[in-house]
């Protein structure tokens, strides 16, 4: 059969960032894939060599907008590793709160986008609506919706005020019922099962061979989570579970992320309720010559920073490794052998349709409201139930 090359990108309607995929297909089956990156390359490693350690925290924050906590966190830990110091207890708790808040909003963001890629825009709108509440919490705590600028080598920049804590707890609690509904809507949905189960499987051997990280590897049964294995921050102070599933398909990756969101909510709530007193900053004066490594578990996997210093206030070398750098090449293992329609789901690059289903109310011509939001949710659940029963009969 003749081979066809299908290019996707670099500016594809669905991708927020430019990336270029070349799929070689034979009939319907993908036989090879090549990924071209570099449309976002800004030379941050070189720029960091001309910035002081304090300034570099702001620079690495702008590597990725969604992980704008994990890079400063890893960088400050790398600088602290040069002198081998531990930050004060209160700073550790504040760092954990910010990092976990980011994980919640990042997972919700991914969930929404994944729903959108599958043509399931309801999930997209629900997830992003919930995400706004978390962004509000982050705005109360740090002053900005993204790019929190809370970190500095030796501690945190801002303290959390006692009067803000009840407000934040209330906001976090308010999303839980909807999140549980969303979880059921995704995990029990027969249509989503059909689209994602058994699709794009990353085997455990491949996950280890590619050194895949974070939820990508945990969905394949690799029980590695830096928060458990190499405890930092306040993660060893409370009880929480590492989520591991064994199938490695698109569905399992979604499940890992959804369940992790609940664990993160648990962690944030514990930290807010049990915030210890004391200093928030070590007031580091100078960084001696040496080498340091900082790594933390970002929403997408391990973020790794290596800093080499020479006693001045600037690094000689600052190496940044984002989790996606290791996760992206796994496309080679997951896409090859799948059909082209599934490949697009795995690459999350199909269906350029946006529509808004949220806050919709069906009105008749006289303007009388027939259904409100709750009715529509109920109707949709009943329909899903019908489909499930139908499918159940078939099976």
């Amino acid at each position: 059969m003749a081979k066809t090359i299908v290019p996707i990108g670099p500016y594809h309607p669905l991708q927020e960032e430019p990336e270029f995929f070349t799929l070689t297909v034979e009939g319907e089956t993908v036989i090879d894939i090549d990924v071209k990156v570099g449309y976002n390359h800004r030379g941050i490693e070189k720029l960091s060599e001309s910035k002081t350690f304090d300034q570099a925290t702001f620079l690495v924050e702008r590597i990725c907008g969604i992980c704008s906590t994990s890079h400063p966190y890893a960088h400050t830990r790398a600088v602290e590793d040069v002198i081998s110091v531990e930050v004060p207890e209160r700073a550790k708790f504040i760092r954990t709160i910010i990092a976990e808040g980011e994980r919640i909003h990042s997972h919700l963001l991914w969930l929404g986008l994944a729903g959108h890629f599958l043509g399931y825009n309801t999930v997209y709108m629900w997830a992003w609506k919930l995400r706004e509440e978390i962004l509000d919490v982050m705005e109360i705590l740090s002053g900005n919706r993204n790019n929190y600028a809370m970190f500095k080598p030796g501690g945190v920049r801002r303290d959390i005020k006692a009067e803000d804590i009840p407000v934040c707890l209330k906001k976090i609690d308010s999303i839980v019922p909807t999140l549980i509904m969303l979880k059921k809507a995704v995990i029990d949905d027969p249509v989503l099962h059909a689209r994602t189960k058994g699709v794009g499987i990353l085997s455990k051997e491949d996950a280890i061979n590619y050194s895949a990280l974070g939820p990508t590897s945990r969905a394949s049964g690799v029980a590695r989570d830096l928060r458990k294995d190499c405890p930092y921050g306040a993660y060893d102070k409370m009880q929480w579970d590492m989520i591991v599933t064994k199938n490695g398909d698109v569905f399992d990756k979604a499940v890992v992320r959804i369940l992790e969101t609940f664990e993160s909510i648990k962690i944030v709530k514990y930290c807010l309720q049990n915030l210890p007193g004391g200093d928030i900053d070590l007031n580091l004066k100078s960084i001696p010559a040496g080498e340091g490594i900082g790594h933390i578990e970002a929403p997408r996997g391990e973020t790794f920073h290596y800093v080499k210093t020479d006693g001045t206030n600037r690094p000689v070398r600052h190496k940044v490794r984002a989790p996606t750098f290791m996760n992206l090449p796994t496309y080679k293992a997951t896409v090859v052998g799948q059909t082209i329609s599934d490949a697009t789901i795995i690459l999350a690059a199909i269906d350029p349709c946006y529509c808004c289903t949220e806050r919709m109310a069906v009105r008749n011509t006289k303007g009388k409201m027939l259904y409100n939001g709750e009715d529509l949710v109920r109707l949709s659940q009943e329909k899903t139930e019908k489909i499930r029963r139908k499918l159940g009969k078939k099976a």
Partner: protein, 144 residues
């Protein structure tokens, strides 16, 4: 020309283009479409193809690799079109000004009609910017 512009302003379809940004501005643009801000109320719709777009929303610091694509895409937009630079990076390249891979700012490459500052600009700021731009264009049409 002015009739086309007038028609365009009723329901501007936007196309979003990232030229090496940190993703934050892009996320905030998408945020504008979701329930809390919901700019689709005003007829603003995210277009899937550049050929359908009236307004280009450009984010990012114009790195060498994506600038070539940016030029090519700008040639393809049906004219008249409006260009909005969103975020600090697309205005002056922000802290990436000395980067070896970001040689030129956006407005030296293509003409820009509106700038929305911020790192990232809040969704409210993006909406305000787009509304101001529409108002300005309407005024200029009236004057003619």
């Amino acid at each position: 020309m002015s009739l086309k512009l007038k028609a365009l302003l009723k329901s501007p379809w936007v196309f979003h283009l990232s030229t090496g940004s940190c993703n934050n501005c892009d996320i905030e643009i998408l945020d504008c479409l979701t329930p809390r801000f919901d700019i689709e109320r005003f007829g603003i719709l995210l277009a899937g193809s550049i050929k359908h777009a009236d307004v280009l929303l450009i984010t990012g610091s114009c790195n060498r690799k994506s600038v070539e694509r940016l030029k090519r895409l700008y040639e393809q937009v049906p004219k008249p079109c409006l260009v909005v630079a969103i975020g600090e990076c697309s205005m002056s390249r922000g802290m990436f000004i000395h980067s070896y891979n970001c040689p030129e700012p956006l407005d030296k490459i293509i003409p820009v009609d509106a700038y929305i500052p911020g790192c990232p600009p809040k969704p409210e700021a993006i909406i305000a910017g787009v509304v101001k731009l529409i108002g300005k264009v309407q005024e200029s049409i009236k004057k003619k």
